[in-house]
C-alpha cells in the first residue's frame, strides 16, 4: 500500500501552498528584514514584536483573528469584496495569506540576522566602487548573505508544511482546496486509519529530518561572514 489519491492531493496542495508562501515571504520579508536591520526608527521595536508574534501565539488565536479579519465583516473581507473577489476564508488563497503571516518570523529573522552580520562596511565599499543601491543589493548583499536567505527559505517552507491549527481555523477541511497533509493525517486518525496515517506521518518525519540536515549543511559550508 502507499498513498491514496486523497493523500497525493493533500501532498500536492501542501507543496503548492508552501512553495507559493515561501516565494511571497522572500519578496515581502527581505525589505522588511532590511528595514529592521538598518532603521533607527522608534517603530523598530513594535514592528519586530508584531513580526515575531506567531512564534509565541497559539495558532488557534492567530487563526481566529485572521478568520474575523478576512470574513465578510472584517477589514480584509471588506477590502476583498471591494475588489470584487470572493471572501478569503475556506479558500486556498486564504491559506496562503494566513501562512505568510504565520511563517513570517521564520523568514524575516534569518535574513535580518544575516544582513546585520554583514554590517555597513561591504555596502560602503561597494558604494565607493560606484555601485548604486540595487547594484549593491544584488552583487554584495545577496551573495554575502546567501546562507541567511537559504535558511529563511528552508525554514519558511518547512514551517508552512507543518502548520495545522491556523489551517483548521480558516481553511477548514476542503479536499483539493484547503486539506493539507497535516489535516489529512488528522482525518486518518479520526477515522482510525492508522496505516494511512503512518504513511503520511512517517513521510513528514523523514521530510523534517532532511530539512534540518540540509540546514546544518548550509551552515557548515558558509561559516565565513566577516570581510577579511
Amino acid at each position: 500500500m502507499g498513498f491514496s489519491d486523497a493523500d497525493l492531493a493533500a501532498i500536492w496542495l501542501t507543496l503548492r501552498l508552501a512553495g507559493i508562501t515561501t516565494l511571497l515571504l522572500l519578496l515581502i520579508g527581505t525589505p522588511l528584514a532590511w528595514w529592521l536591520a538598518h532603521t533607527r526608527s522608534r517603530w523598530r521595536g513594535p514592528v519586530a514584536a508584531v513580526v515575531a508574534l506567531p512564534l509565541v501565539l497559539p495558532p488557534t488565536v492567530l487563526g481566529f483573528y485572521l478568520l474575523l479579519a478576512m470574513g465578510p465583516q472584517g477589514p480584509v473581507g471588506q477590502f476583498t469584496q471591494w475588489l470584487g473577489l470572493d471572501a478569503l476564508p475556506f479558500t486556498f488563497w486564504g491559506l496562503v495569506v494566513a501562512s505568510v503571516i504565520y511563517s513570517m518570523p521564520f523568514v524575516v529573522q534569518p535574513i535580518q540576522n544575516a544582513i546585520e552580520a554583514l554590517g555597513r562596511r561591504p555596502l560602503e565599499v561597494a558604494a565607493t566602487l560606484r555601485a548604486g543601491p540595487w547594484d549593491r543589493f544584488w552583487t554584495v548583499v545577496v551573495p554575502l548573505a546567501r546562507p541567511g536567505f537559504v535558511t529563511a527559505a528552508i525554514l519558511g517552507f518547512a514551517h508552512t508544511v507543518g502548520e495545522f491549527g491556523v489551517v483548521l481555523m480558516i481553511g477548514g477541511n476542503i479536499p483539493g482546496e484547503t486539506r493539507v497533509v497535516s489535516v489529512q493525517i488528522y482525518d486518518h486518525v479520526e477515522a482510525m486509519e492508522y496505516a494511512e496515517a503512518h504513511w503520511l506521518a512517517g513521510s513528514m518525519v523523514i521530510f523534517s529530518f532532511l530539512v534540518l540536515l540540509a540546514l546544518h549543511a548550509t551552515h557548515r559550508h558558509t561559516t565565513h561572514g566577516a570581510m577579511p
Partner: protein, 357 residues
C-alpha cells in the same frame, strides 16, 4: 580649473562636534594627522559622502560634490577609498575585486594600466586567489589597487597601514612612496603616525577635537614647535633633500637641501632621488666660530631665530639654515655663555643624520 580641494564640513552628534573649513592642494599627498577621536576619519567619510551633513560644501579641483542644495551620493563621486581594514569582498577573487569598480566606470584604467598598477603594488601573483588566503599586507595592497583601478579624481586613504604590524607596514610603505612619485591625483591620507606623515606627506592638516588646528606644507608644520605633533618631545627637524653624490670609498651619501648639504651613511638610492632626513635636536651643537679639527662631518652656517626653554637647564634653539628650519637642544648655560640672541650667526655641528625610512 582650480587645482584644489575645498571642504567645509560641520557635524554634531553626542559628545562630538566637527567643524572644519579646509583648503587643500589639488595634487600630492595631504595627511590628515591628529590623535584618535580628532575627527580625521569623519572628515574623510564626509568628503566621500558616506556620512551626510546637509550644510556641507565639498569641491574637488573645480567639481562640486555637494553644497547646500545638491548632494552627490557616494557611488556618483569619482573617488577611490581605501579603508583601514582592507575590506575586500570575500566572495570574489582578487581579480574580481579589482574589476568590481573598474567595470562600473567608463573612465577606469584599461587592462594595460591596471597591469602596471598591479605590478607596482606587487600583487600580480595573487590575481586568482581568494581574499581570505592573503596576508594583511597583501589584502591592503589589493585594496589600494582596487581603488586606483577606478582612475579616481581623488584618492582617500583612511589609515591604510594602521591595522598592520610593523613588518607589513614596512612592506607597503615603499609601494605608497612609489605611488606618490607616479600618481598625479591628489591623495588625502589619514594617519596618526608621525613616521608615515614625515615619509609620505607633502601637505599636512593637524586635527584636534574636531577642528583643523593648522594646515600647511608638511615639513613646515612638522618643524613647528607650537603644534603637539607627538614626536617632538625631544625636538627634531625633518628636511626634504635630494641625493647628489655617493662616495663609495668612504661609504657615504651626500644629500642637498634648500640651504645646504649633508653627508650621511651610504644608501643605495639613485642620484636625484627625493628623501627626507631627520635630525634630532640633541644631536646638534652650536659654535660661534667655524670649528676646526673636529670629527663631525656636517657643519652648517646658521642664524638663530629664537630660543625657548625645554626642560630643566635645557634650551631649544630654532635656527635658520638658508631657509630651512633646524632645531638645536643645548644647555641653558651654553645659551648664556654664547650669548645667543635672534639674528646671531652660528655654526651648527650635526652629530648624526638619519634617513627616514
Amino acid at each position: 580649473m582650480t587645482e584644489r580641494i575645498q571642504a567645509r564640513l560641520h557635524l554634531r552628534y553626542a559628545g562630538f562636534a566637527l567643524d572644519v573649513d579646509l583648503q587643500l592642494p589639488g595634487r600630492g599627498i595631504t595627511a590628515l594627522f591628529g590623535p584618535s577621536g580628532s575627527g580625521k576619519t569623519t572628515v574623510l567619510r564626509l568628503i566621500a559622502g558616506l556620512e551626510r551633513t546637509d550644510d556641507g560644501f565639498v569641491s574637488v579641483n573645480g567639481e562640486v560634490w555637494q553644497d547646500g542644495r545638491h548632494f552627490l551620493p557616494t557611488h556618483k563621486r569619482p573617488l577611490g577609498y581605501v579603508f583601514q581594514e582592507a575590506s575586500l569582498f570575500p566572495h570574489l577573487s582578487v581579480r574580481g575585486n579589482l574589476d568590481y569598480g573598474r567595470r562600473r566606470v567608463c573612465s577606469a584604467m584599461d587592462a594595460e594600466a591596471l597591469e602596471r598598477a598591479v605590478d607596482l603594488l606587487g600583487i600580480a601573483h595573487l590575481l586568482t586567489r581568494r581574499p581570505d588566503g592573503l596576508s594583511g599586507g597583501e589584502r591592503q595592497r589589493v585594496a589600494i589597487a582596487r581603488a586606483l583601478a577606478l582612475n579616481p579624481r581623488l584618492l582617500l586613504m583612511d589609515e591604510p597601514l594602521a591595522a598592520l604590524d610593523l613588518k607589513r607596514k614596512q612592506e607597503i610603505l615603499p609601494y605608497l612612496e612609489r605611488l606618490h612619485d607616479e600618481l598625479s591625483i591628489p591623495v588625502l591620507y589619514v594617519s596618526h603616525s608621525p613616521e608615515e606623515v614625515a615619509r609620505l606627506a607633502d601637505h599636512l592638516v593637524f586635527m584636534q577635537h574636531g577642528r583643523a588646528l593648522a594646515s600647511g606644507p608638511c615639513l613646515e608644520l612638522m618643524n613647528r614647535r607650537d603644534l603637539p605633533l607627538g614626536q617632538q618631545e625631544d625636538g627634531e627637524s625633518i628636511l626634504a633633500a635630494r641625493v647628489v653624490e655617493h662616495d663609495a670609498q668612504d661609504h657615504l651619501t651626500r644629500v642637498a637641501f634648500t640651504g645646504g648639504e649633508l653627508w650621511l651613511p651610504r644608501h643605495d638610492l639613485c642620484l636625484g632621488h627625493a628623501v627626507r632626513v631627520r635630525i634630532h635636536a640633541r644631536d646638534v651643537s652650536l659654535s660661534l666660530t667655524r670649528p676646526g679639527g673636529t670629527s663631525i662631518l656636517n657643519i652648517l652656517p646658521a642664524t638663530v631665530v629664537a630660543s625657548s626653554d625645554a626642560g630643566p637647564g635645557q634650551s631649544l634653539v630654532r635656527l635658520d639654515v638658508g631657509g630651512t628650519v633646524l632645531l638645536a637642544r643645548i644647555t641653558r648655560r651654553s645659551l648664556n655663555a654664547l650669548a645667543l640672541a635672534p639674528g646671531q650667526h652660528v655654526f651648527a655641528q650635526i652629530k648624526s643624520v638619519a634617513l627616514i625610512e
